[in-house]
């Protein structure tokens, strides 16, 4: 039954990884920018949720929409005000450095505002759990975390595939010039994409806060996780993120279960490098293939 429990835990963690990575993946696919401040945005989401829950007693799951809204605005401004400037002035590599710098600034700010100590969010229903057949248990927290992750990923997939703005985003990713010639304001689209990415990072932060304790320096791990998920699953699509996320979740739970709690990152890294060498565009490839 240990195996089943491990798989279940892996899936919960995997859903979270997937949600945390989908925004990173979107920016990578659409803008070609590696956003090293993505993990910091995830952490902001966690801290904002913690703050809302702590100060108003609002259920953490209900905090998700306002957190997403705030971070959407943050992402929009961040892209138009800073990233686009860096891309225009020098190169994509330079834009990556800008995001690296911003990540440090944000981490420092989080430490100053919220202290470097671990925080956690525990709603009233935190201690109820279901007992499944054969002694496998799953608590309500993790069921809702998995459910919320999957629902949000589904929503994003719907937006990208079925709505006008989703089509515009995909068109801009494939052929920026052509899209511009069709009257698309590419800069606006990029900024919206960034906003969406930040909003979903924020949502994953909220869910992460319910499942795990968190501290500002975790941001580096979440950026790295997102990168691994994208490399595993493929660039730019929610389904790629889901696949990569679930794989990563299962791998890291299994590794810490079978080899030792110290090794998930090492294992993850090994798989990352192998994957990059064997199949650089991920299992599902680039959703915007042919764009670059």
């Amino acid at each position: 039954m240990l195996a089943l429990q491990t798989i279940l835990d892996g899936l919960v963690l995997g859903g979270l990884y997937a949600l945390a990575a989908v925004g990173f993946s979107l920016i990578f696919g659409v803008l070609g920018v590696v956003n090293l401040s993505h993990g910091a945005i995830v952490m902001i989401g966690a801290y904002l949720t913690w703050f809302l829950w702590h100060s108003t007693g609002l259920d953490p799951l209900l905090c998700i929409p306002p957190v997403m809204l705030v971070l959407f605005a943050f992402g929009y401004v961040y892209q138009r005000g800073l990233i686009q400037l860096a891309v225009d002035r020098s190169s994509l590599l330079a834009s990556m450095l800008v995001t690296f710098g911003v990540a440090l600034m944000l981490r420092n700010l989080l430490v100053l505002v919220f202290s470097p100590d671990f925080k956690s969010i525990s709603p009233g229903w935190a201690f109820s759990f279901l007992r499944l057949a054969g002694g496998v248990t799953i608590d309500l927290v993790r069921i809702s975390a998995l459910g919320a992750s999957l629902a949000l990923l589904g929503a994003l997939a719907y937006v990208l595939n079925r709505t006008r703005i989703g089509r515009v985003i995909r068109a801009t990713a494939q052929q920026e010039l052509a899209a511009r010639l069709c009257g698309v304001n590419a800069r606006h689209v990029y900024a919206v994409t960034f906003g969406v990415s930040a909003a979903f990072a924020g949502a994953s932060g909220a869910i992460l806060g319910i499942v795990l304790p968190f501290a500002p320096p975790d941001e580096a791990n979440w950026t790295l996780n997102a990168f691994v998920v994208v490399v595993l699953g493929g660039i730019g699509s929610p389904s790629g993120a889901l696949l990569g996320g679930l794989l990563l979740g299962l791998i890291s739970t299994a590794t810490s279960q079978l080899i030792g709690p110290a090794f998930p990152n090492a294992m993850m890294f090994l798989i990352l490098v192998l994957m990059l060498m064997v199949r650089p565009s991920g299992l599902l490839g680039n959703a915007f293939a042919g764009s670059r």
Partner: protein, 329 residues
């Protein structure tokens, strides 16, 4: 070719020798606190130069070079305390330190050689982030495997030498290291490999087509850069006296090595040196009172730099000189 380069840069070389000689007198003149600032400047300068051997010369920007600071520090520390033992270190501190340096550098060289083959097949952002991963993983393993003593910490024996105070000892060690790395970098830059690397940095495929052994060159530079960074890690750890994972595997080290080069000028020798001096003076002296904002300020500095002067001080200066020369002709 090297002779030609020496002749061409003879004034710079004389200046460098004079500068290093002048720096040798610092511990006799300045207060201990200022000697420590001097230590930090030398450490930063040499780290910037060690990074540039790979990042500046070959164009492979490592985002996780602190991996080798940590690896060197822990390898030397474990060797000195567990293998040589404190009794030996007390009796023969300099020999112990020398052996520790060799072990630290050796471990870094071997580790780099092992990692090089898969990781250097990646280019650009993939390489950068993979190095970030290497640093993260090494730090985690050091911290969670008890034998490495990363979470408990390692105490380094003192290195009494020539009747000097500790901060002066490490100042001189770092001064020698800086001079050595500067010399190595100068030789590499002006040798055949340096020209091959410059070509490779601009266009790896064309360079290979012209016969540049790109594969061998980048592995060489990766191992060289890692080994020298490891040596600096060993010296730094000794100067701290006591290290944990967090004190040597520091993301801000990785970041700063890039910042020095960006600020000063990527791919040059003068660049990382200027960048390191400015950054250390700025953060330690001017902003010394805002310790809890260090990371924020370094990050802001990086952002401002990329936006304002992507070619760094030396690059901007060279471009200005070129413009003036072509306007005159």
């Amino acid at each position: 070719m090297l002779r030609e380069a020496v002749a061409k840069h003879r004034w710079w070389i004389l200046l460098a020798i004079a500068g290093l000689a002048a720096l040798a007198f610092v511990p006799f003149v300045l207060m201990p606190f200022h000697v420590r600032v001097g230590q930090l400047i030398l450490l930063s300068t040499s780290l910037g130069l060690a990074w540039t051997l790979l990042g500046g010369f070959a164009g492979y920007w490592s985002f996780g070079h602190t991996a080798f600071i940590g690896l060197g520090a822990f390898a030397a520390g474990l060797f000195e305390t567990q293998v040589l033992g404190l009794a030996f270190m007390r009796a023969e501190p300099l020999a112990g330190l020398g052996l520790g340096l060799l072990v630290g550098m050796g471990v870094c060289a071997v580790a780099a050689a092992i990692v090089a083959w898969p990781i250097l097949r990646l280019r650009g952002i993939y390489f950068a982030v993979a190095m970030l991963g290497v640093a993260q993983v090494l730090a985690e393993l050091t911290n969670s495997i008890d034998a490495f003593k990363g979470s408990m910490g390692l105490v380094f024996p003192r290195i009494p030498a020539f009747g000097l105070r500790q901060e002066a000892v490490f100042y001189y060690l770092l001064l020698i290291a800086t001079a050595a790395i500067l010399l190595i970098a100068f030789v590499v830059k002006n040798a055949r490999i340096g020209h091959g690397l410059a070509a490779m940095r601009e266009d790896e495929d064309t360079a290979r087509m012209l016969g540049v052994p790109t594969e061998r060159y980048k592995i060489t530079m990766f191992v060289l850069s890692a080994t020298l960074t490891g040596a600096l890690g060993v010296i730094y750890a000794h100067s701290l006296g006591y290290i944990t994972t967090g004190s040597v595997y520091r993301t801000d080290f990785s970041l700063n090595m890039i910042v020095y080069n960006l600020l000063g000028g990527m791919g040059t020798l003068l660049g990382p040196m200027i960048g390191a001096v400015i950054m250390v003076l700025l953060t330690q002296v001017v902003l010394g009172g805002f310790l809890n904002l260090h990371m924020f300020l370094t990050g802001a500095m990086l952002v401002a730099l990329v936006l304002a002067a992507p070619k760094g001080i030396v690059g901007t200066w060279q471009a200005w000189r070129r413009r003036r020369a072509s306007a005159a002709s």
